[in-house]
Symmetry: C2
Subunit: 79 residues, 2 copies
C-alpha cells in the first residue's frame, strides 16, 4: 500500500528556504506573494487495510518524519 506524507513548516515558523524561493521567483518576473517549502515522503508500506496503513504512517510521522514542534504533516493513503 502506498502512502504520501506532506510535511510543512508550521505557521509562524521561519522558513528561509521558502523566502529564498519567493525572492528567486520574483526576480524571474513571477507575481508571488508567499512561498513555503516543505518535504514529501512516498512510502511503500506492508499493510492491506487503509485504516491500519494510516495509523502506521501517522506513527512514523511522530517518531521520525516530522518534527512536531516546527512541522505539521498530512497523510494520504493511495491504496
Amino acid at each position: 500500500m502506498r502512502a504520501t506524507v506532506l510535511v510543512r513548516p508550521k505557521q509562524g515558523i521561519l522558513d528561509p528556504q521558502g523566502e529564498a524561493v519567493e525572492t528567486a521567483l520574483e526576480h524571474l518576473g513571477f507575481s508571488v506573494s508567499a512561498a513555503r517549502v516543505g518535504k514529501l515522503v512516498d512510502i511503500e508500506i506492508d499493510a492491506t487495510d487503509p485504516a491500519e496503513a494510516r495509523a502506521q504512517v501517522e506513527k512514523m510521522c511522530e517518531q521520525l518524519l516530522a518534527n512536531p514542534l516546527m512541522e505539521s504533516y498530512e497523510v494520504e493513503i493511495h491504496g
Copy 2:
C-alpha cells in the same frame, strides 16, 4: 490563489535521503519496502483564473522549482 507543487526524484534516480528514511523506519520496527523523499512548495500566486495560475506555476517548475533531468513535478491549484 494558492498552489502546491510536489517535486519527486524520477524513477531510477538514486535517492540517498529516501534510503536513509527507509532504513531508519525499519530500525524503528516498521514494515516498509521503499521510501522516496521529495519536496513540496506552497505558493500564493497573484492570479484569478485557475488555468492561468496552473500555467504560471508550471513555468516556475521548469525555471526554478524542479530539475527536469532528475525530478518530476505535480501541480495542485487550490483556488
